[in-house]
């Protein structure tokens, strides 16, 4: 059961402090904070998001119920159970840049960390294919540490392809260090035939 914090009638910043106490008391899970002013709704939402939590707000008779999820929400593991053991194999990953998100420098670190941490996944969680396109091909050509980890994934059955046109465009076709060369048809076919295509970058 999720904990309920009743912060109605309290002036700013008291509702934030109550939410802070409730969140610091749990490792992960849900709490619900009830407030009755827009300022408190905004403030509690800001606080929770600043702590990396996700927040959903529902309005009920002039009261705001903020459901705050800390850590992994209960929903995600349930869903993974449901989707069964081998659906991981049907997934394709489409890596379309050498960076994730708007900041290029941070984005490179993120992509590197994401790809390299994939070796920690169970076999059943691994994707069937990884396709590197556009600036994604810089990863398969030059990111030596990442390439080592990709080699581990390949050994565990993940097919790795880099887009041939992209390699030629950047004039680095001779630098490819891991996996095969794919064409546009392969990429499109993979995207439409795999149930879950995950796009990175």
């Amino acid at each position: 059961m999720s904990q309920v914090v009743d912060a109605k009638g309290l002036a700013c910043p008291q509702p934030v402090i109550l939410a802070k106490k409730a969140l610091s008391g749990i490792e992960e899970g849900l709490i619900t904070v009830i407030v009755d002013s827009e300022a408190s709704r905004e403030n509690v939402r800001r606080f929770a998001e600043s702590q990396g939590c996700t927040v959903s707000v529902e309005e009920k008779d002039g009261e705001f119920h903020l459901e705050i999820a800390k850590g992994y929400t209960c929903g995600i593991p349930d869903h993974a159970e449901e989707s069964g053991k081998d659906t991981g194999k049907k997934r394709a990953m489409f890596i379309q840049s050498d960076s994730i998100g708007p900041d290029a420098e941070l984005g490179k670190q993120l992509l590197k960390a994401f790809l390299e941490s994939m070796v920690e996944l169970e076999d059943r969680e691994l994707p069937a294919k990884m396709i590197f396109v556009n600036r994604g091909v810089f990863v398969t050509c030059f990111w030596n540490e990442t390439i080592e980890k990709l080699a581990e994934l390949k050994a565990r059955g993940v097919e790795i392809f880099s887009c041939g046109a992209c390699l030629n465009f950047f004039k680095i076709a001779d630098k490819l260090k891991i996996g095969g060369v794919g064409n546009a048809f392969d990429s499109v076919q993979t995207l439409v035939t795999h149930e879950n295509a995950i796009t990175l970058g």
Partner: protein, 321 residues
């Protein structure tokens, strides 16, 4: 509902009455000299009683300075919980107030105290201003430069401080900023000459700028990068330590503000943030702006900056670029 009460009753000596959303009332004494009157009190914004008293007094005096005036005499306004506030604490609050009034060159000539579970302190202030120095809020002219004399973020910082979430260093800076009188800035305006002025208090930079732009029939173009604020205020805004008044300011003004520049929501909240004892916002002819800025800084408001300029009326009264 209260707007239609005829407070000034047609008295022709009342130059500025309640209808103008001005900083202080102005009453003509004789041909050259005008009387300026205001009153304000606030709940504690810092922990130290003396500092609270000083800030509350600076906040009350500020309205006189916003009109270009000088304070002459004051009354203490005290609401306190006689059962829970110790006499020596109250004494220190009053001493803090006196400290500010002395620096203003004014005198405390009396006051009134009532019992109230929530502490409040401030002053009723009487000042004078020569008519040629009167800086109302309706006279900003296209081409003017806009000067802000103190950094923003005081509402957020004092809210965070109530729950010990503001750093000691930032609170020291905030207390120093709030305790600074706007006297030096007003004297600089008298010396150099300014078109219009207001002080930044409860309605925040945007709220008070909007009043001035509306009353003057112009648009203010503010340069976000030039507007001084305490950096920690943005972080604390991100953690939800924003006073309800600042959200109200946003709600009441947002339709009249346009952000041309990309700013985080937290940064915008600093511009909507309700201030205590904030600085003056001054509209001054462009050729005098640098001289005025220099003099204001020399008179003690070291963080003063030129934050934008006045343009002809556009659809929105306030534009951030």
């Amino acid at each position: 509902m209260l707007h239609d009460i005829p407070f000034d009753d047609g008295n022709t000596s009342v130059l500025v009455g309640l209808e103008h959303s001005e900083d202080a009332g102005v009453f003509r004494l004789n041909d050259g000299t005008l009387l300026v009157q205001t009153a304000d009190f606030i709940t504690p914004v810092v922990d130290d009683p003396f500092m609270y008293g000083r800030i509350a007094a600076a906040n009350s005096l500020s309205d006189i300075y916003a009109m270009g005036g000088q304070a002459i005499c004051c009354l203490n306004l005290v609401c306190y919980d006689s059962c829970n506030i110790e006499t020596h604490e109250l004494r220190n609050i009053l001493l803090g107030g006196l400290d500010a009034v002395r620096e203003a060159g004014a005198a405390i000539v009396g006051g009134h105290t009532v019992d109230d579970p929530e502490m409040k302190f401030g002053l009723s202030v009487t000042g004078i201003v020569e008519e040629k120095h009167l800086t109302r809020n309706n006279n900003a002219k296209a081409g003017d430069r806009l000067i802000l004399t103190k950094p923003l973020g005081m509402g957020i910082l004092t809210t965070a401080n109530k729950v010990d979430m503001a750093s000691e260093k930032s609170m020291e800076q905030a207390a120093e900023i709030m305790a600074l009188l706007n006297k030096g800035a007003a004297e600089a305006m008298n010396k150099v000459g300014a078109h219009s002025a207001t002080d930044i208090t409860g309605f925040g930079l945007i709220g008070h700028a909007l009043e001035m732009a509306r009353a003057s029939g112009v648009t203010f173009r503010l340069k976000a990068d030039s507007i001084p604020f305490l950096p920690e205020a943005v972080d604390l805004a991100g953690m939800g330590l924003i006073p309800a008044g600042s959200y109200n300011n946003r709600r009441f003004t947002r339709d009249d503000v346009h952000f041309e520049v990309q700013l985080s929501d937290d940064r915008k909240m600093v511009y909507f943030d309700a201030q205590t004892s904030g600085g003056l916002l001054i509209s001054v002819a462009p050729e005098k702006a640098d001289i005025l800025l220099e003099r204001i800084r020399k008179n003690g408001a070291k963080s003063a900056e030129i934050i934008g300029e006045v343009g002809t009326r556009k659809e929105k009264h306030i534009i951030f670029s």
